[in-house]
Symmetry: C2
């Protein structure tokens, strides 16, 4: 094993496992062999970013790729007149900031205070070419991200407001289960405005739709940002375009 390098010193050597990362078994880091991890750690920089601060902006030169260690990040694109579309939420263990054109295709902003690992694009490229395992893991992650984006395209293009909100709640619930959290009270870490910008709706419509689902007994609000999925089956039927219930 190598001696600690300056970057380790800065953040304290986390040891053979990437302990700086809250993500569990499904993170790229967790799937890497100790050897692969070592390579990543060597080129890694750490940063803490406050809530509402940007990691990078759409159009900036893409000099680094990031992985999230804690908190939530939103990825968004802007139209000239301020209309915004959130193209994804990032959770611990996820990578973001890959680019095809040399500039970031979206803005990345912290929703909560977050911790990130920063990998310079060039150094990561070098490491990737030396570590086929890493390349393959990142590839798989990208494929999953693409499938997710396509799922969201179906939602944005073809679902009603009610279906969109139901689908989103269920997605959060499924994600919670994957992290071994309870399926039901679902935490909305993001604001109503972020929700609206993710679902292609206005904040008013999101609010009205939540009220409506509540009135119909499918959900209940423990707090505005904590939703109880009272009737998950009915919610599922709504999300799949199953009709009026």
């Amino acid at each position: 094993m190598r001696a600690a390098d300056p970057l380790h010193a800065l953040s304290g050597d986390p040891g053979p496992v990437c302990r700086c990362c809250e993500a569990d078994d499904h993170s790229v880091c967790a799937s890497l062999t100790p050897e692969g991890l070592r390579g990543l750690r060597v080129i890694r920089g750490n940063a803490r970013i406050g809530a509402q601060d940007a990691v990078f902006h759409e159009g900036e030169a893409a000099e680094a790729v990031y992985s999230l260690t804690s908190g939530t990040v939103k990825l968004s694109k802007l139209l000239g007149d301020g209309r915004r579309q959130i193209v994804g939420f990032v959770f611990p263990g996820d990578f973001f900031g890959f680019d095809a054109e040399g500039t970031y295709p979206y803005t990345a902003e912290a929703i909560t205070p977050v911790g990130v690992c920063r990998f310079s694009t060039s150094r990561l490229a070098q490491l990737r070419s030396q570590t086929p395992e890493l390349e393959r893991l990142l590839f798989g992650r990208l494929v999953a991200d693409l499938a997710l984006a396509q799922e969201q395209m179906l939602l944005l293009g073809r679902m009603t407001a009610r279906e969109k909100v139901a689908h989103f709640l269920l997605t959060l619930s499924r994600r919670a289960v994957r992290r071994n959290d309870p399926a039901s009270p679902v935490a909305l870490t993001m604001s109503r405005q972020d929700l609206a910008d993710y679902l292609g709706l206005t904040i008013e419509t999101v609010s009205r739709t939540i009220t409506q689902l509540k009135r119909d007994g499918l959900i209940a609000l423990v707090r505005p940002e904590l939703v109880d999925l009272t009737d998950a089956d009915a919610l599922r039927r709504v999300a799949e375009g199953g009709g009026s219930d």
Copy 2:
């Protein structure tokens, strides 16, 4: 150089360069070294598929990845009640059919008669691990696809019908330029229904919007499927959410 194997025999050995592929400099194949190409050719199967036929269906076991050699393919997702969203069009040189879950996340159908190269997922995985260059090229392609999907999310979630159609026409035009075709009369290889399913609109709204753009002098229809971009600048202004012109 290796002797021709059965697959070559079937389709005629295309020689050191993948001549079976109409795609030019921007295809993955064209960027591969002769050596890398050789590996691809060995595991390649060829197929011709008639217009309107499916290459594979959403939900089927994903046993192969494809690259398009000629024609146009559409990728679509279905909702329970028949609502459809086209999540992408595939042009020669593009790969499609990657999956994260073991099943295809979308249906792939030929819009025109098409030629495809077929790569069994397992054999391609093996080749990828032996050919870092191939892996890197596919990775870059995926990143580009993801950026495209995110761009489309912005379109689906936040643009008006007029902006959607303008944006789509310009995208086709840009793509034509990249293939060294003229920017202006743009060919719509897909039906109005496909267009609607791609833009998250109904066929009627697409038709009305095209008529409106025509009336306003931004475009002219040479034929229903051949659009002249009379005023590309104005079109660009519309597509960027530039206002009423």
